[in-house]
Every structure is written in C-alpha cells, then in structure tokens.
C-alpha cells in the first residue's frame, strides 16, 4: 500500500518537473542508512518518508519533522570543519524541514478532514541521518475494514504533497528558511 502511495506521489512530483528516486521498488527492506545514503548523495534534494500506521483516526494524515536538539546538545551537534556527522545529519536542516512539513500539513488538513493543521515533532529514526530537508508522512490507518478507503486517499495525498513541494521549492532554491 505504501509503495502504491509512493508511485502515485512520484507521478505527481514528476509532473512538477522534479526528479524522483524511490528508495525501494518492491517489498525489499533497505536499512535506514541505505535510504539515507541514497538521499545524501543528491544535491539540492528533499526527503519524504511515507508510512501507513496501525493506529489513528482513519482517513487522516500527519506530517512529522525532527525537533531542534536540546540547547545543551546543540554545540555537540554543530558541524565541525564543515563536516556534519552522519548520525545527526538532519540537525543542520531542522528549520527547512519544519517549513516543508508545514506546507505539506496545510495541504493535508485541507484535503483530509481531521488531520492536524500544523506538523508534529517526533524523533523519527529515518529522518536523523538525512542531510537535507526531510519529513515523514503518516497515513491512518491499516485498521480500516475496507482497504479501498485508504486506496482512495492516494491521488489526493500525492497531489497535496506535490503542491507543497512546489511551494517549498521556491523557498528552497531562493535559499530561504
């Protein structure tokens, strides 16, 4: 199901003139670092990780980004000599990720009733090692009795993300945060 969402999203993003790389093409399971490696090899990219949860109000979508590290740890996480440690690569992109998450979440709130209007912060493992603006999108939920309910969300989800990414692109390429 998630792969189905990802393929729809790919079509919508490519229609915006964007190049899209999927970190998996089938039911294989690349590691977090495998996915991060692919993302971090791109220049000027953004990273979106898709999930379908087993809980939550069916038909809603939440967007997550990482929070800023605690002040006491900020110094330790700061890049040294321009090199950002792999295991905390995301900490240099928190503000941009937050902006991207906001743009996507607004779109989701408009299309999927009951979705929050602002993104949430959570220590999502996959995001931590991505050195680019990165968000997680979680759709609720696989607990629905009729799977077609979720399938019907696919096109709207893909279009919403594509619109948000297009808006973010203008900010991103202008170097803004």
């Amino acid at each position: 199901m998630v792969l189905g969402f990802a393929r729809l999203l790919r079509i919508s993003l490519e229609a915006q003139g964007l190049r899209v790389l999927l970190t998996r093409q089938a039911n294989d399971g690349p590691s977090f670092d495998d996915r991060s490696k692919l993302a971090n090899a791109q220049r000027g990219g953004i990273f979106i990780t898709l999930h379908v949860s087993s809980t939550g109000q069916p038909g809603t979508v939440r967007v997550y980004c990482l929070a800023h590290p605690p002040a006491a740890q900020s110094t330790a996480f700061a890049p040294r000599g321009g090199i950002l440690p792999w295991d905390r690569a995301q900490f240099g992109f928190i503000d941009q990720s937050r902006k991207l998450a906001e743009l996507i979440q607004i779109q989701m709130a408009q299309r999927f009733h009951g979705s929050p209007e602002t993104p949430l912060e959570a220590p999502v493992r996959q995001l931590r090692t991505v050195g680019a603006p990165a968000v997680a999108i979680e759709v609720s939920s696989v607990s629905v009795a009729d799977r077609s309910t979720l399938d019907q969300m696919g096109p709207g989800l893909a279009d919403a993300v594509a619109r948000a990414v297009a808006a973010f692109r203008m900010v991103y390429e202008a170097g803004g945060k």
Partner: protein, 230 residues
C-alpha cells in the same frame, strides 16, 4: 488347580501390586516431560511480573498517563490507587508495571500487555534507564504516533510520580535498539518532567495490525529544473 497355575497367578498378582505402587510415580514423570520447557525469557518475565512490594510502600493516588478517550491521539492522567515505594527505582518499576498491566481498557493502552520491564536504573544525573523485553517492540502497534505516545506515557507517568528523573533511556533486552517498533528513534534520551497531557490532533483507534511502512522518496528540485529546461 495345578501347582504351575498357582505359581503363575501369584506372579501375576505380585506384578499387579508392583504396578499399582509404581504407576502414580510414572504418571507424574510423564506429566513433567509433557510440559513445555520454559525459556529463560519466560521465567524472567514471570518473576518480573510479580507485584513489586517494598517495606516503604504507601498506597497513593498515582497519576498514570494512558490514551485519552475524549481528546484523540493524546494522553490523559488517570488517578489510580497504587502502593508505591519510597525508593525511586522500585517506585518507577511499580509505575511502569502498572502502565502495562492496569490500563482501564484495551483502547487506552499505550504499552503492549505482553511487554515486561526487565530492569530499571536511575543514574546520579537523573537519567533513568528502562530495559524492556522484546515484546515492547514486537507487540507494539507500529507507527510514529503510537510509538511516540508509548514513550510519552512512560515519561509523563514517571515525571508525575517520581522525583529526580530528568530523562529516560529505553533499552530492549539489555541492548540499545535503533527504534521502538520501526519508527521512533531510541538513540537518544527522552525528557521527563512535564506532567501536562500531550496534544496532537488525530484520533487513536484500538491497536490492530502492524503498520506497513516506508518507501522513502528523495526528491531533487535542483535536477527537476534541469528536466524542465529540456
């Protein structure tokens, strides 16, 4: 009756008598062999799930954070009478065990009932370390929201009822795990101290199937511009 027949009957009678004496013992031995051997993990879990009782236990109204039924995707404190130790480590164990075993209903659970707390420590700097059995991961409803609420329920319950804990580290079977159940990062420490309910804005449905997760999609706007220009 011939002498041979008498001898045979005597021997048979003796054998029946011996059998009657031996049979109960044999039956017990068979029952013992029939029972499934217990693993170390099962034995340890049974021990850990025994109610923890200490000489300093005092029954108090403890504030435990479970899923809210009124505010979706959030936690709310529920006061339950609970004997709690004065010792912060034992007190914390009692609280986490109660979180696992005494949820008011399945729809309010944050932690799977199969999970058990294997060990709990508090370091001098206020870092608490909770070591769980594998079921905290394998039986957890998978998803960012459910995993985050699980951790928050522990952190807020400890914060509301135990003094001196500033942050929480979660281990699984004594090891540092990458995630709780595929999503939430266990690499770092979770802050403890806020007794206010969390807020999010989506409802929680009762835990059911495992989540399906993540083809991740790196997108490259810069190269997209090149594509447009061709």
């Amino acid at each position: 009756m011939s002498k041979g027949l008498k001898t045979t009957i005597l021997i048979l009678g003796a054998m029946v008598a011996i059998g009657l004496v031996i049979l109960p013992g044999l039956r017990q031995a068979v029952e013992r062999l029939r029972s499934v051997p217990r693993t170390d993990e099962q034995a340890r879990r049974d021990v850990m799930q025994q109610p923890i009782s200490t000489p300093t236990d005092v029954e108090v109204k403890a504030q435990l954070y479970w899923l809210s039924t009124s505010a979706p995707a959030s936690l709310e404190p529920i006061a339950i009478p609970l004997p709690l130790s004065a010792d912060p480590v034992e007190r914390s164990k009692q609280l986490i065990n109660a979180l696992i075993t005494r949820a008011p209903g399945p729809e309010r659970r944050t932690l799977p009932p199969e999970a058990s707390l294997l060990a709990f420590y508090i370091q001098p700097d206020g870092t608490a370390i909770a070591d769980f059995s594998d079921e905290i991961s394998s039986a957890m409803p998978s998803g960012i929201m459910s995993e985050q609420l699980a951790v928050q329920s522990m952190a807020q319950t400890l914060g509301a009822n135990v003094n001196g804990i500033r942050q929480l580290k979660i281990l699984i079977h004594g090891q540092e795990a990458e995630t709780l159940a595929g999503h939430l990062d266990l690499h770092g420490l979770f802050p403890v101290g806020s007794a206010t309910p969390t807020s999010a804005s989506a409802a929680i449905a009762p835990a059911q199937a495992a989540s399906q997760t993540k083809p991740t999609v790196p997108v490259n706007p810069a190269s997209a511009q090149a594509s447009q220009s061709h």
